[in-house]
Each structure stands twice: as structure tokens, then as C-alpha cells.
Amino acid sequence: MYWISILSFVMTALASLEVHAQADSTSVQLPIITVLDSTVRSQYAPASSQIWQSSSQPPMHDLGRFLNAASGIFIKSFGGSGIATSSIRGSSAEQTLLLWNGVPIQNPMLGQVDLSLIQPGLMDKIGLIRGGHSSKWGSAAIGGVITLDNSPDWSEGSQAGLSMNVGSFGFRSGKFHMDYGNGEWSSRTRISHHQSENDFRFLSRRGNSHEKLTHAAKRQQDIMQSFGLRLDPKTSLTADVWYQESDREVPPTLVQNVSNATFEDKAWRSLLRLQHQGAQSIYWVKASYISENQEYYDQVENINKFQSVFIEVEHQKQGNESLFNLGISFLHNSANTNNYIGKESENRISFFTNHTISGRIIDLDFSLRQTLIDGTLSPILPAAGAIINLSSKESVSFKINRNFRVPTLNNRYWQPGGNSDLEEEKGWSQEVTFSTRRKRLALDLIGFNRNIKNWILWAFNPGDNFVSAQNVANVWSRGLESRITFETPIAGGLLTQKFGYDFIRSTNQSNNPLYDEGQQLFYTPEHKFHFTIGFQKKAFELRYQHIIVGNYDGINDSLPGYNIGSIHLSYQSQYKKTSFRGFISIENIWNHSYQVIERRPMPGTHFTIGSKINLE
């Protein structure tokens, strides 16, 4: 922690010196260019995607809690210091792709990212794209894609900000950021510290008394540094480094007396991005290196280390009413653990192209991807979509995608049970959307259907006394999603009401050791309803949110549904170049006793209070 503080101080001092130095020099105004991801790939069907500018969001403890509250997707949270993973449209956690500035940052051993370790405040923009997009983004984009983006700020001047939050159960967090730009180069520094004891009380069935969760503390530090350099008016180079370290105690389950388990994670993520913009075309080159060490201790120490190298070259050309891109990416993953025989690795090379055509009535979208995995060709992944504009306010869209997921390194090499003969999970998804956008009303109704074959499960083979990875499930997922937003001016303010309801059936369709035929997958509620009512007037905003989740099955027990309410009040003001924001959030305001994962209690009513000051 000390070195982070020292580094922060040094960077702040250097940036300040630079501000003074530049103030006396004559700067040349150049056209501002911004590094963006390929627009032809990020032009999502609007109804299935949500994008949040981080600066306009209230501080959230972690990405899992943020997405649970903001997106409506189901987050499998172990509560307290525990991990959080996503289930989008009945998919597994491994079937959600997480991209940091377009770079996959999943743990290649598990195929997952622990969303509770991602601090939303470090990012400029957070995106969620529901539905299969393997043809655009590659392996694992079956359930959906979560995007985390940072972009350089080329505007001249400097700004700094500090936010401090405190809350129940020993929660303390602080984030400092400092940005500087002079039109030719930019620097953005973010430092974040987050800690919590998570010693909340929960209603115990033992005598209906309240017990305190023990051994649940969490500490996390992040530092992210981005530099941008304009090589010429059309070319920019950006470098990002993100270091993260966390220490967590793993609390006992509800049926465990004591836990001594701990989990430590240290990750270095670095990225270089080069962009060259022509009159009608843009070239991007990305190169990233990720190294992560994880140590899990529970009587037995399990050390996992992995590294990833990702390189992508992409060219996008713009026509009058069309966008076309062509790209190639290379991904090398290697990992070592005491449960592998030795260091294991994989190489993937992908070729992809996307083409969008925008018409007055119909917009068309085509994608194609082919991946070579350790020298073996995977299935060609085509996708097509169309948006039919019924009027200026109504549209209907269709999408069909072929999706796949490459088995993780653990799936293939974990001893015992790893299976090097595993095939990719693969299948098709379809989606139909009706959307309307009116002055005070936005409505999206989405129907989706997805079949995935060779779904990988860890299950017992007859006669074995260990589980092994097997391509044994075929899973049919289908459902409806609805999102409605009303806005009503009232009493000089704006009343906003948002409703969302998801109906998801995700059933096993094959005979396998884990599921009966027709059985809904574990941790997949059929019904999830959420609504938010907010009132904003002048500098104040008051918002209430309620989430209702239906019953579902865990791997040990059936879990009863739950409904959780939360309330948020914020105030923001601006004085000259100083902005201030203060807030208070009360979560689980009705003090509902519930579990998302069986045997793992969730906190009752708890609060967070915080403030944020920005100086320009």
C-alpha cells in the first residue's frame, strides 16, 4: 500500500510540474482525435445494450453490485467478500466475455472474471451487450459481453478529483484521480483503495437470532495509469497500465463453524493502442500483456498463475452509408498451478470481418469470424442482423448469431478431471426486438432463443471418484426481456420510472449426470423483475429501486425468491471550476433476509455515504 501512495504522490507532483511548464509555453491547437474501438463492432442493437458513463453513476462497491442494480442481469453473488459472476439469459459465468478496452481479461484457467474485484469508478464507460456476439468478439461471447473502457482526454488543462465513501460493516473507500492534457499528450491517473470488514449480522435459523458474519474482510487497491501521445494529427498512441491487488477472507458458510480460507489476487494488465485515422478509414493496433497470480488457501494452498498476450490489428473503412472492417487477432494464454502437470498454454488466431449498411428503412449488419486454436480450425461464426425502421419512432430488429466457447485451460488440463479431448461449446442464437422511442417513453420488448451444444459440465463418470470435464449437455435457452422507461415533468423536476421484467427458461436437453432432461439450469431464476422510480430537481436526485427475483435451484438446495429495495439520495453542485457531489445510499432497506448462493448469507439493511470533489 505504501508504494501506491508514494507512486501516487510522485505522479501528482510530476503532473503538477507539467501543468506549470505548459502554462508558459505556446501551444498549437490541433484537431482532437480520440481512440475508440471499432464502431462497426460496437454498434450494438440498441435494445440489447446498455452503456453507462461512470462519472454520472453513483459510486458502487464493485461491478457485480453495479450490474445487478443497473442492468437487470442476474449476478451470482456470494455476499460479503465473496465472488460475483454473471448469468445472462441463462448462460454460465464462463459464457460472458469481459473486455477491457477491447481486450479479453477473463481468467483463462476458469474462463471467468470475478466481478466483485472490478471497481466501476476506475472506468470511463461500462457497457453491457446481452445476447450472443461470438462473431464480433470471439470465444465466450455467448450470453453477453461486458465492456470496460478508458479513453484518453485530449482536452487541454488538468483536473483532479477525490472521492471518499464510508458505510456499514467497516466499508471505507477512497479514489483519487488526476488528469492532464495539453492537446499533444494526456495523462490520467486513478488510484483506488477499498476495504470492508463485511461483519454484517444475518438472521440465523438457529433460534431465530442474529449472528455476525466472521472472517469476511476484504482489502483491495487499484492503480491505473494511462498516457496518450499524439504522434501526428492523425495518429495517436495510448498506453494503459492497471495494477490490482486484493486480499480476501472467505467467510464460513451457514453450515460451517469456522473458516480460515483466504484468497489473494494480484494482477498486472497493460495495453498499448495505436490509432491512425485516414479520410475514410481507421487503423487500430492493440497489444496487451496480462499477468495474474491467485492464491487460495483453505488448509491446502492452491496457487494459480497465468499470463495472456493479446494482439489485434483492425482496419475499418467508411462508405457513404456503410462501414466495413477487417481484422486479425492473436491470443496466447499460459498458466501454471499445482494441479497441472506443468505449464499449459494455448494460442488462438482469429480473422474477422464486419459490414454494416445503413438505409432509410433497413439497417443491415453482417459478421464473420474464424478462429484457429492451436492449429485447429474452429467453426466459422457468421452473424446477421437487420433493423427495420417502421417509423421514426418504432423499429423491429432481428439477429442471428453462431456462437462458441473454447474450453478453458482448467477444462483441459486440471488434474484430475481435465479433458484434453473436449470440443468447443457451440450453437446458434436468435433475437427479435420491438422498440419504440417517444418523447417521454422508451419501450423495448425482446424475445430470444439459443441452443448450445457440447455445453461443458464437470460431472462424475460412472466408477470415478473425481469429477471430470465433459461435453455432455445441450442447453436450450429462451425468454423475453422487457424494458420500459417513462419520464414525467412534475413540480419543476423530472420523475423517471423504469420497469424491467425478464422471463428466462434455460433447460438441459440431454441425458447427463448433472441435470435431468428438461431441468432448468442451477442459479437461473425464471423470473426477475425490477423497477426504479426517481425524481430529480435542481441539484437533488432521489431514487428508489426494487428488485424481485423468483425461486431457483442451487446445486444443493432450492432457493426461495427474494425482493430487495434500495434508496439513494444525492446532491451535486458546481462552483466555478469545482464540482461537488454527495450521496447516501441505503440498500436492502426492508432488511430482507436472503441468499443468492445457498448457505451464503447476504447483508441486511446497510448504508453508504460519500462525497466527491472535482477540481479543474
Partner: protein, 321 residues
């Protein structure tokens, strides 16, 4: 004290006059506070009149079936202490005992004579790993009694016999833990070596041990599926000693699909038994060096080939793909 003396005298008389065979595993380990989990590839452990099969997968460093242990740690929870007995010693204050990892049923097979035996008594106890998991819970398995202490949990050992390829319909059951009592004060987890009388089973080719737990999830039993065995008393005589082992033989190929060949140094003719992981003798006959044994008719799984010759025997494991 008088009762104890009487029991001792009767036990000694019973052993002397009816030629009881004691299997206490004391001869197997030469060091203290250690275990043998079959890493040598022996395929199992032979004692006076019984054989405890073992499987060891060198590619996974993973064992199954039985291990022999004299570890004394009755305090440390968790998988790393999987070879210890909660009593901290063997039955009757002995050093060594057998411990099994029995997620799938395991067998105890009749000894070196290729003939059924009658088993009078076995001593059973919990392993430290399982005992502490049931008492305190762990990240995967529940504390017995559950959140309220009232859950009717149990951990049960079921024993059936095989004779001439037929499995008995009746079983002898022993609760290693029982929390089903109305009065929670009566709930218990076994931590002392307990004798189980098996005389009612009569002659057996093998015993099949199956564990059952109330703590079951989608992947099967959550409770660590271990128990300990010691002091197996059998009735009858034997013509061999514990050390009459055929050690230098192998089978090829392994895994096999159609046939396996016996790779053996001597030209002797052996009688063989092919035994499934469940303890069923699926075929038997005679075989000599470089001769093949048909395996195409077998279902995929793990099997044992047991060779017998003049009171000597050896066991090797193979996999039918």
C-alpha cells in the same frame, strides 16, 4: 475388570480353537506417522486373509480404494489430513489401519486362497477429515444438524457381500454419524473404533462398502467420503503368508479395448480372476505368459486382474476403455 478379563480369555480361546485370522495391517508400513496410498502401483494391500484393492493414477497423482496409514492427527481439518483416523490410532490401540476414499463403493476381497472366507468382525471408525467436516462443516460440506442443529443428518456405511458373482440383497448398516434423534443431545458422530459383527453374512468372496449421506448436492455426496477399517477377523485357514506375493507382472495394453496380455517373467500357469471395481468376479480361468485375456465383453471402467499360483497371489489394475 473381571468382565474384561473374561472377554479377553474368550477372545483368545476363540481365535486359538477356531483358527481365527487377524488382519491388522501392522506389517505394511515400516515407518511411523506415514501412509501408503498405492503410489508404488501394487494394486492393493494383502493381509493374512483379506485383500484391499487400491487404484493409483500416476498421471493425476490420484488414489482410490484403500490406503494403509499409521498417522495420528485427530485435530487438523481438511483434505491434507485425509489419511488420519479420528481415534489417532488403529483399533485395539494398534498403530496401523486402513482408510478408504469411497465416493464410489469400495471392496474388501477374500484373501490369497481363491476361496470364499467367513468374516466375523471388522472395526470401523471415522477419518479425521470426515469427522471434523461433519462436526464443523467446511466450504463444501455442511455441519451436521445444519443451521438450526435440527436437520436429521446421517452418514451411513452399508455393507453387502458378493458370493459367486451374486450380491446379497440384505445389507448390514452402520451409522458413522446420526443426527436423526428427536433429542439433539443424542446426536453423535463416531470417534471410537467400533466392532461390527458380520457373521450373519456367512461365506463371502468380497464385501462391498457403500457410503450414504444426507448432505447431497447435484454432484453427489458433499460429506468427505472416507472411513477407516481395522482388525478384520476372519474364520478359516490359509496356506499362504502375507508376503507370498506375485509382484513382477504387468498387463498390456492398458487401457485396453479387446484383449490384454500377461507380461510375466516366469512360464508358470496362473489361475486368474477378473474383478470389477464393485468387487464382482466377471471372469476367471487360466493364463500364462504372453497369453491374452478377452476384455471386449466388459463394460468400460476399472478392473483388477488377480493372479493365483500355489498360494501366492498378485493384483494389477487395468482400464477397459
Amino acid at each position: 475388570m473381571r468382565t474384561f478379563t473374561t472377554i479377553c480369555i474368550l477372545t483368545i480361546c476363540n481365535i486359538v480353537f477356531s483358527q481365527k485370522m487377524i488382519n491388522d495391517f501392522e506389517h505394511i508400513l515400516t515407518e511411523t506417522d506415514t501412509f501408503d496410498n498405492g503410489v508404488s502401483g501394487s494394486g492393493g494391500f494383502m493381509d493374512t486373509s483379506i485383500f484391499l484393492p487400491n487404484t493409483y493414477d500416476h498421471s493425476f497423482d490420484f488414489w482410490g480404494g484403500w490406503a494403509i496409514s499409521n498417522k495420528k492427527d485427530s485435530m487438523t481439518p481438511g483434505f491434507l489430513n485425509q489419511y488420519s483416523c479420528i481415534a489417532g490410532e488403529g483399533a485395539k490401540e494398534s498403530q496401523a489401519y486402513a482408510v478408504t476414499s469411497a465416493f464410489v463403493p469400495v471392496t474388501l476381497q477374500a484373501g490369497p486362497n481363491n476361496s470364499p472366507i467367513s468374516i466375523d468382525t471388522i472395526f470401523i471408525n471415522n477419518s479425521t477429515y470426515t469427522y471434523l467436516s461433519m462436526r464443523d462443516g467446511d466450504q463444501f460440506a455442511k455441519r451436521f444438524g445444519g443451521e438450526t442443529g435440527d436437520d436429521p443428518d446421517f452418514f451411513k456405511l452399508s455393507i453387502k457381500k458378493y458370493l459367486d458373482g451374486e450380491i446379497s440383497t440384505d445389507s448390514i448398516e452402520f451409522f458413522l454419524a446420526d443426527y436423526r434423534f428427536e433429542n439433539n443431545a443424542e446426536d453423535y458422530i463416531v470417534r471410537d473404533w467400533t466392532a461390527i459383527d458380520l457373521t450373519s453374512l456367512g461365506l463371502v468372496d468380497s464385501l462391498l462398502f457403500t457410503l450414504h449421506s444426507s448432505d447431497i448436492g447435484a454432484f453427489g455426496i458433499n460429506t468427505p467420503t472416507y472411513f477407516c477399517l481395522d482388525y478384520v477377523v476372519t474364520d478359516g485357514t490359509t496356506t499362504s503368508t502375507r508376503n507370498d506375493r506375485i509382484t513382477a507382472f504387468r498387463t498390456f495394453p492398458n487401457p485396453a479395448t479387446d484383449k490384454i496380455y500377461l507380461l510375466e517373467e516366469s512360464d508358470q500357469i496362473y489361475s486368474y480372476q477378473m474383478i470389477s471395481a464393485n468387487g464382482v468376479i466377471v471372469s476367471k480361468g487360466e493364463v500364462s505368459r504372453d497369453q491374452s485375456i478377452e476384455v471386449a465383453h466388459l463394460l468400460p471402467g476399472t478392473y483388477y486382474i488377480r493372479l493365483l499360483n500355489g498360494g501366492k497371489q498378485g493384483v494389477v489394475q487395468f482400464v477397459r476403455e
